[in-house]
C-alpha cells in the first residue's frame, strides 16, 4: 500500500486536522465528534443542512460546508457511515429554529445511523428533522425487496442546489420537497480502472488485470456489476451515459447539469477527455447541457475511474445552481460572508 499517511487508524483524524488548518476561512471542526461546521452556523431562521457519510470521498461532504451549501458534515470512519451521536450533535448545533434537513446517501449503514439520529433528535430536543435519501445509481437494480440503489453523484448537485434554496430562507418542507424532486430527476453510473485501497485493509479491495475495468461501481471500492475488457474513453462514456438516459426517459430539448466525476486517482486531463465524449453523446441525443461540473468531487480514495451524473433541470434549478457558493470544494459567484 502506497499512501501519504501515518498510522492507517489515524487517517481520518489527521485529515480533519489538515482540512481545518487549510480552510480556517470556511469551516471549523469539532474533532471530538468529527463534524465540520460552517463558520457562522447556526444561522437564525435558515433551515440547517447536514450531510455525512464515510470518509474517503473527499471533498465530499466536508468540502461542501460553507455559504450556499451545507451547514455541517459528519465524517465517519473510512467508508463507514458516521454514528448517530454525530448527526444528533450536528443537528442541535445547526438548528436556527427553522428545522434541519438530513441529506443521506442510500446505503444501509448510512440510512440506519441517520434514522437513529433523527429519532433521538426528535425525542431529545424537539428539533424538526426531515431526511432525504439519494439513490441515483442506475448500475443497481431497484426493487422493493432489496436495499435499493446507491446514492452517488446526484448528492453533490443536490447539496449545492438545496443549499442555495435554504440560503434564500425557504421553509423546511419546501427545501425537503425540492431535495426529493432533485433526487428523482438525477441518475448516475460509475466505472473503475483500478480498485482503491482502504488504509486499514492495507491492500486493494479487488484485483483487476491490466486489460480489465469494472463497470457499475459505487464509491466504496465495492466491485461493480460487471468486469469488462478495458475500452477507449468513447466507449466508456457510452456505457455510462446510455443506461442513465435509458432509465429516466429524456425528450429532445431536455436540459441537464452534466457532471463528470473522478474517483480520486484519475487526473483532470482524463476527466476532460471523458467530458468531451459525454458532451458529444448528449449533443447527438438532443439533450442540452445547461451547466457542467468536471473534477474529483466525490472520490473513492485512490481509485482510478469516473462516474457520470445527469440531472434534469429547469430554470429554477439552474438559478439555484448559479447562486453563490463558497465552500472549500465548490466556489463561485459573489459570496457574502456577512
Amino acid at each position: 500500500m502506497k499512501k501519504l499517511i501515518n498510522d492507517p487508524a489515524d487517517v481520518v483524524k489527521e485529515a480533519l486536522r489538515g482540512m481545518e488548518a487549510a480552510h480556517r476561512d470556511h469551516v471549523r471542526v469539532d474533532h471530538d465528534h468529527a463534524i465540520i461546521y460552517r463558520l457562522d452556523a447556526p444561522r437564525q431562521g435558515k433551515v440547517g443542512l447536514i450531510s455525512g457519510g464515510g470518509s474517503g470521498h473527499e471533498p465530499m461532504h466536508g468540502g461542501f460546508v460553507g455559504t450556499g451549501m451545507l451547514d455541517a458534515a459528519c465524517a465517519g470512519e473510512m467508508f463507514t457511515s458516521p454514528v448517530p451521536d454525530q448527526m444528533m450533535e450536528a443537528t442541535k448545533q445547526v438548528d436556527g429554529g427553522a428545522g434541519v434537513l438530513h441529506i443521506v446517501k442510500n446505503y444501509t449503514g448510512d440510512v440506519m445511523n441517520f434514522e437513529m439520529a433523527a429519532e433521538m433528535a426528535a425525542a431529545d430536543s424537539g428539533i424538526e428533522v426531515q431526511s432525504v435519501v439519494t439513490d441515483d445509481d442506475v448500475a443497481v437494480q431497484d426493487s422493493l425487496y432489496t436495499a435499493g440503489r446507491r446514492g452517488v453523484g446526484v448528492t453533490v448537485l443536490l447539496e449545492k442546489i438545496v443549499g442555495a434554496a435554504a440560503e434564500e430562507g425557504r421553509p423546511l418542507q419546501d427545501v425537503a420537497d425540492l431535495a426529493r424532486s432533485i433526487n428523482d430527476q438525477g441518475r448516475s453510473m460509475g466505472m473503475a480502472l483500478t480498485s482503491c485501497t482502504v488504509p486499514s485493509a492495507g491492500k486493494a479491495t479487488f484485483d483487476l488485470a491490466d486489460d480489465e475495468m469494472e463497470v457499475g461501481i459505487g464509491i466504496h471500492g465495492e466491485p461493480g456489476r460487471k468486469r469488462l475488457p478495458l475500452a477507449p474513453a468513447k466507449d466508456v462514456a457510452a456505457m455510462l451515459v446510455d443506461p442513465i438516459v435509458g432509465d429516466l426517459p429524456y425528450q429532445q430539448g431536455d436540459s441537464v447539469i452534466a457532471f463528470v466525476n473522478g474517483m480520486g486517482g484519475t487526473p483532470l486531463i482524463e476527466l476532460y477527455v471523458m467530458y468531451n465524449e459525454v458532451a458529444q453523446i448528449l449533443d447527438k441525443a438532443g439533450i442540452t447541457v445547461a451547466r457542467s461540473l468536471v473534477g474529483n468531487y466525490m472520490t473513492s480514495l485512490d481509485m482510478a475511474g469516473c462516474s457520470v451524473t445527469l440531472l434534469k433541470v429547469d430554470d429554477e434549478l439552474v438559478g439555484l445552481w448559479d447562486a453563490p457558493v463558497d465552500t472549500p470544494g465548490l466556489r463561485w459567484g459573489c459570496s457574502d460572508h456577512g
Binding site: F79, P82, V83, T108, V198
Partner: protein, 209 residues
C-alpha cells in the same frame, strides 16, 4: 439454579467475543472486500475495543444496565450497517432481561429473540437476503428446540445452527446491504455479518455456562 447466568458471565462473553473478533478482524474484512467495502473487521474491532474499555472501567449491577451501555457504545463507535444492528441487538437483549431474577435458558432465549427482532426492525432483512439474519434465524430456532436440555445444550445448538446459516449464505444472492449492489456476483461469497454473528454465538457457548 446452578444455571443462572450472572453479569460476570456476560462480561466474560463480551470480552471473549471482542477477542475473537480482534483475532479475526483481517478475515472479516477480507470477506467484506469480496462483496462489500472491506471494513467489517475494522468496524467490529473498533466497537468491541470500546466495549472492552467500558467493561474495564465500569461495574454493572444488572444485565440490562450492562447491555444498555454495551449497545449504546456499539451504536456510537461502529457506524456502518453493523453498528446500528449489533447496537440495537444488545439494547433489546438487555431490555428483555430487565427485572429478570434468574437468567436460565428460557429467559436467555427470549432475550435473544428480542434482540434479533430489533435487528429485523432496523434492517428489514428477510431470510436468505444474505445478511447476519441468516445466521440468527436458525440459531434462535435451534436454541429454543434445545432449551429444555439446558443452557449449555441450547447455546451449543444455537452456535452450530448459526455456523450452518453462515455457510449457507455463500450460495445466496444478496438482497440487502452492500453486497446487494453486486447482483449475481454476490453469489459464492460468505456474508461477513453472518460470520461475526456466528462468532458471537460461539463465544456465548464458550462463556455463558
Amino acid at each position: 439454579m446452578a444455571e443462572a447466568v450472572t453479569v460476570d458471565a456476560f462480561v466474560r462473553w463480551l470480552k471473549h467475543f471482542a477477542e475473537t473478533v480482534h483475532d479475526s478482524a483481517g478475515h472479516l474484512t477480507q470477506l467484506d472486500s469480496a462483496i462489500g467495502d472491506a471494513d467489517h473487521g475494522t468496524n467490529m474491532d473498533r466497537g468491541l475495543k470500546a466495549v472492552v474499555g467500558v467493561l474495564d472501567t465500569n461495574g454493572f449491577d444488572s444485565p440490562d444496565a450492562l447491555f444498555k451501555k454495551v449497545g449504546m457504545t456499539l451504536v456510537s463507535t461502529v457506524g456502518g450497517a453493523s453498528g446500528p444492528l449489533y447496537g440495537t441487538f444488545f439494547l433489546r437483549f438487555g431490555s428483555a432481561l430487565q427485572g429478570v431474577e434468574s437468567i436460565g435458558s428460557k429467559e436467555l432465549g427470549k432475550a435473544f429473540r428480542a434482540g434479533v427482532d430489533g435487528i429485523v426492525a432496523r434492517g428489514k432483512a428477510e431470510l436468505e437476503d444474505k445478511t447476519m439474519y441468516d445466521a440468527w434465524a436458525p440459531a434462535l430456532e435451534a436454541f429454543d428446540q434445545a432449551a429444555a436440555d439446558g443452557l449449555a445444550a441450547a447455546l451449543s445448538a444455537a452456535a452450530s445452527a448459526a455456523a450452518e446459516g453462515r455457510d449457507a449464505t455463500t450460495d445466496l444472492l444478496a438482497r440487502k446491504g452492500r453486497a446487494s449492489y453486486l447482483g449475481e456476483r454476490s453469489v459464492g461469497h460468505q456474508d461477513p455479518g453472518a460470520t461475526s454473528t456466528t462468532m458471537l454465538l460461539e463465544s456465548a457457548a464458550a462463556t455463558l455456562v
